[in-house]
């Protein structure tokens, strides 16, 4: 029978491995609690080591976190009434605008048209950046002057899509930190005015412990339906995916895997867990 003491060392090592993979500490601890609860008192077969049992329990625990709420994005978009309005949120520089450009290409590859709305009326060069993407992709762009009302831009794009039979509206927003209450309130306002069909939270796979704070705050300000994790090509440990899925209870839908328009892949929970389990050398 497995006693609590038998687990102390393997679980400590596991906690360090999870932290090394950028799983946030309280999330790592919750996962360990789940494993402990499951294993203590369990009969160990003669051939099994405690380590093997821990690994198995870890796999299950990780899968249950990261597999949360997975839905078929393509199907949902295909079946929804058009235009489908998707708003992208997240902190500064994580890759919202680039992900929108990639998604426009992704949709076009699947026979769906889109219009991009530049709701970032704040950052220097934001209009020029998104315009260049739109031109490269031959996607219609709706943009206002710098300093304009972001909700109004997205609203205009929805009207354009309705008038022109466009399938999907991709609404960008300016990057903001969750500590800025004014900007978070602005995000909540966009959410109320635009009432999007889907809100996708964008974060980067290289993020560490802070991923939980921002995921929680963004989800509170404008409830998210799913997340995109960018920069997965930068040798990230993958733990941010666990943290974001755990605190929001919403699925990771896509991974950004580079700066090209095709560097967007559907997220595969099993593959991520396999990667993470590769972590304990």
């Amino acid at each position: 029978v497995i006693e609590e003491e038998d687990l102390e060392d393997p679980l400590w090592e596991l906690e360090m491995a999870l932290l090394e993979s950028d799983v946030e500490m309280s999330v790592a601890e919750a996962i360990l609690d789940q494993i402990r609860e499951e294993l203590v008192g369990q009969e160990r077969k003669f051939t099994e080591s405690t380590g093997d049992l821990v690994d198995e329990a870890l796999r299950d625990a990780l899968l249950s976190v990261i597999g949360v709420g997975q839905f078929d994005f393509d199907e949902r978009v295909a079946e929804a009434e058009k235009p489908v309005v998707i708003v992208f949120t997240g902190i500064n520089g994580v890759g919202k605008t680039t992900s929108i450009a990639k998604l426009s290409k992704y949709l076009e590859d699947r026979g769906l048209s889109s219009v991009i709305a530049n709701g970032d009326t704040y950052r220097a060069g934001a209009n020029e950046q998104v315009r260049e993407h739109a031109e490269n992709l031959d996607t219609k762009l709706i943009a206002h002057e710098q300093g304009g009302d972001p909700a109004a831009v997205i609203y205009d794009a929805v009207e354009y899509a309705e008038a022109n039979d466009i399938d999907v509206v991709l609404g960008d927003t300016a990057g903001r930190l969750h500590t800025s209450s004014d900007l978070m309130e602005q995000l909540a306002k966009i959410d109320r005015v635009v009432d999007p069909d889907m809100t996708l939270f964008v974060d980067e796979a290289v993020a560490g412990q802070d991923a939980v704070n921002r995921a929680r705050e963004f989800d509170d300000a404008a409830e998210i339906d799913g997340a995109i994790l960018t920069k997965a090509d930068a040798d990230s440990q993958g733990g941010a995916a666990i943290s974001v899925a755990y605190v929001t209870g919403k699925p990771i839908l896509f991974l950004g895997t580079g700066q090209g328009y095709d560097d967007l892949t559907r997220f595969d929970p099993e593959a991520l867990v396999a990667d993470l389990l590769g972590m304990e050398e």
Partner: protein, 291 residues
């Protein structure tokens, strides 16, 4: 001492030592555990945290507290000394003619930091110029140009040229009148071999007096490998931590200075050109320990 205002759990643990004059292994173990938690939650590299805590433990038990110090103050001083030892003072930046190159991951804040630093140098009475060599990211030229207008500093870029090395060369010539030339580069990470080659080429043309690695305060355990690669490629003389106006603790910067044997130069805490300050160790250490 700066550490008097510690995070609540760490303070609680240390408070249990308040009255004691001698410290035993169990006490130290408890304190070290809390310090480990704080540092790990601040994104400091796991193995670096273990090294630090071993050394704190060893010193706390071996070193004789100076007469009259309580066990609590003794441990506190050691923690502080170890961390100060690691982060060091702010990167030395003489107010004289120089060329500074910025490097770092995509979206870490390089372009914004270039304009902020130019603004900072202009307030010190020097004439700065920013050279934008990013030919890859859409809108990079306009972004840098607009930020430099806001900072009221000189700017060089060439939207029609697609070779960053050429822009760097031409930019140095065009800004010969400036005292401080700040060279912005496109974002890249350690695994992009082509882009790493590219920044090595830019570096060899620019011959910067300093190369600064720009790091997002929220970067996780990847900071170590990234810093190592930039150190190998262009040599890192200092680190800039951005987005400290959020809740991330910036522990990746500690990892980076350890990895590159450098120091921290600037802190960024907002999107406007004035949101920059020189690094100051005690505030940063407080943040790391969760105060």
């Amino acid at each position: 001492m700066v550490l008097d205002d510690l995070g609540s759990s760490l303070r609680g643990t240390l408070d249990s030592l308040r009255g004691k004059s001698r410290i035993d292994e169990e006490d130290v173990e408890k304190v070290v555990k809390e310090i480990q938690r704080s540092l790990l939650q601040a994104d400091v590299d796991v193995s670096l945290v273990m090294e630090l805590s071993d050394s704190i433990k060893e010193r706390s038990l071996e070193e004789e507290p100076p007469g009259g110090t309580t066990a609590r103050d003794h441990v506190l001083r050691i923690v502080y000394e170890e961390l100060v030892d690691l982060v060091g003072e702010s990167t030395d930046l003489p107010l004289e003619e120089q060329t500074i190159m910025l490097a770092g991951l995509q979206g870490s804040g390089k372009t914004t930091t270039a304009a902020k630093m130019a603004w900072w140098f202009s307030k010190k009475g020097l004439r700065p110029a920013v050279i934008q060599t990013d030919t890859f990211r859409p809108g990079a030229y306009e972004q840098a140009k607009q930020m430099c207008e806001r900072a009221e500093v000189d700017f060089y870029g060439d939207p029609d040229e697609d070779d960053p090395v050429t822009i760097a060369r031409d930019g140095l010539e065009a800004t010969a009148d400036a005292d401080v030339r700040i060279v912005d580069t496109a974002g890249r990470h350690a695994l992009e071999a082509d882009l790493i080659d590219e920044i090595e080429e830019i570096e060899s043309v620019v011959q910067p007096d300093r190369s600064l690695l720009v790091l997002d305060a929220a970067i996780g355990q990847g900071a170590k490998d990234q810093a190592q690669q930039f150190e190998d490629s262009v040599g890192v003389s200092g680190v800039v931590i951005t987005k400290l106006d959020g809740t991330a603790k910036g522990g990746g910067a500690l990892t980076a200075v350890n990895e590159t044997d450098s120091t921290i130069a600037f802190l960024g805490s907002g999107e406007t050109v004035q949101d920059i300050e020189r690094f100051e160790p005690s505030g940063f250490i407080s943040r790391l320990l969760g105060m």
